[in-house]
């Protein structure tokens, strides 16, 4: 047993636990948020996959962006994301986070969420049904188990790029620094 192998085993265990225990902070930005209660409650029961709601960003693993983001909300979302603890994942939920959806020519919303926050997985649809949401979560679980959900790392490495993008749309940038 050399060190590398034992580290591998530890990683497998950790990733297994991470995969089966996702605390979700559902940031209900757009209309898609209405599908979250349906996903969590009796009919679709996301808790059987270990997915449960978290009350605050400090406790959350997954940030769920449910729909269009106005630039004003984006600022709050960034703050929320940066308060979350590693490892953390972002799910873009609905067409609006992928290409702007039906808000593609709006003056006040962002089009592609990945320019501002590192999205690990998208769920398409306008709006995605609970089946699709669960499918998306399972996709995320597969990424985590394979150790490929590295959005947070990407964010840290390319922070300057992300910050530049964020500051381009958020005019009054008054934000605290986080030591995350």
């Amino acid at each position: 047993m050399n060190d590398k192998n034992s580290q591998k085993i530890v990683d497998v265990i950790k990733n297994f636990a991470r995969k089966h225990s996702l605390f979700v902070l559902a940031y209900g930005t757009g209309c898609g948020a209405i599908e979250i209660p349906a996903t969590m409650t009796s009919r679709y029961d996301a808790e059987r996959f270990g997915i449960r709601g978290a009350a605050t960003p400090r406790q959350a693993d997954v940030l769920l962006i449910t729909g269009y983001l106005s630039t004003k909300t984006l600022k709050r979302v960034i703050r929320t994301y940066e308060q979350m603890q590693d490892p953390k994942y972002v799910i873009g939920f609905g067409s609006c986070t992928i290409n702007g959806g039906m808000y593609w020519d709006s003056y006040n919303t962002i089009k592609l969420l990945d320019m501002y926050l590192p999205v690990d997985i998208y769920i398409n649809g306008c709006m995605p049904r609970p089946e699709a949401v669960i499918e998306g979560f399972i996709g995320l679980q597969k990424l985590i188990a394979a150790g490929k959900a590295e959005g947070a790392k990407k964010y840290k490495e390319n922070l300057d790029w992300y910050r530049a993008n964020q500051k381009k749309v958020i005019k009054n940038w008054v934000m605290p620094d986080y030591n995350w």
């Binding site: 089966h20 225990s21 808790e47 709601g53 603890q85 030591n179």
Partner: protein, 304 residues
């Protein structure tokens, strides 16, 4: 002498482990049962262990000050500390740890110690939700401590002792559980337990939907993990204390599990069919019937 110390340490370790594992499984079972009541499949019963591993594997870069870092440790110390003074099985079948004269009164203090430490820690985070949660928690504590202490005083008066082991002994000698010997004390203590376990309608401290989980709201990762484990240990502590005081203890571990789990189901199922109280409603609840039963219990113990 040296051997004694090792035995004591072993006892501490084994008892804590037992409490931890049982408590975690009870919490898992409670999630499963709640899910079944809501017509869901629910998470597997070992879900809490997965949650715990994940939480412990998370980075924790939150720092609001020393008291905040110590808060979860206070909870853990209080839970394990109280466990050390409670005989787990009858007649010293299990490790006896530190049972001694007057331990009930000591326990009454020790059991609130964790919450107070946590309250200080939550205060330091500066999160308004935490502050509100703490005030609510302390208010609720003022509520349920009254019938709880009354029930205990009734037992002390009835059996003329403040030692849990002796109360157990007395129940065996008379052959009647104190749950039947002084039913009013049991009812008062049971109603107080609703507040102690903090399931709805008394989950006003955490209240995820309105307070963002209250005192816990700034604690993620390892802090949350520690709190969860201490929660598991403390649930076991409370249940075993109830079984010892009111149900004649247990002769073996199977009996212990049956008794404690049966007891655990009462606040749990009561919570499933209830929404959340407001703070003043909760306090008013405890000052109503539970306190009345507490008074009757003391009178009964004195005059009967």
């Amino acid at each position: 002498m040296m051997g004694d110390i090792w035995m004591t340490l072993l006892g501490v370790l084994v008892t804590t482990l037992l409490a931890f594992v049982t408590g975690m499984f009870y919490m898992g079972a409670s999630r499963k049962i709640t899910a079944r009541v809501q017509n869901r499949v629910g998470p597997p019963i070992y879900q809490n262990f997965l949650d715990l591993i994940k939480l412990q594997a998370k980075d924790t870069a939150i720092h609001h000050g020393w008291m905040q870092l110590l808060g979860p440790a206070f909870l853990m110390v209080s839970a394990v500390g109280s466990l050390m003074f409670i005989p787990v099985l009858n007649k010293g079948l299990f490790f006896e740890n530190f049972t001694a004269d007057g331990d009930i009164i000591f326990l009454l203090y020790l059991m609130v110690f964790g919450s107070l430490g946590m309250a200080l820690g939550a205060g330091q985070t500066g999160n308004p939700n935490s502050a509100i949660g703490v005030t609510r928690g302390l208010t609720q504590m003022v509520g349920f401590e009254i019938p709880w202490v009354m029930a205990i005083v009734a037992l002390i008066l009835q059996y003329h002792t403040t030692n849990i082991a002796e109360i157990l002994e007395a129940q065996h000698r008379s052959g009647v559980w104190s749950m039947f010997a002084n039913p009013y004390a049991f009812i008062a203590a049971l109603l107080a337990a609703f507040g102690m376990f903090r399931y709805s309608p008394f989950d006003i401290v955490g209240a995820p939907a309105e307070l963002a989980s209250g005192p816990v709201s700034e604690n993620g990762g390892k802090f949350l993990g520690t709190m969860m484990s201490s929660h598991a240990v403390f649930a076991f502590v409370k249940l075993v204390l109830y079984v010892d005081l009111f149900m004649g203890g247990a002769d073996n571990l199977v009996e212990l599990v049956i008794k404690t789990f049966g007891l655990y189901l009462i606040p749990l199922t009561y919570g499933m069919v209830n929404p959340r109280y407001r703070t003043e409603q909760a306090v008013r609840y405890f000052y109503g019937w539970p306190t009345l039963f507490g008074i009757i219990a003391i009178l009964y113990a004195v005059f009967y």
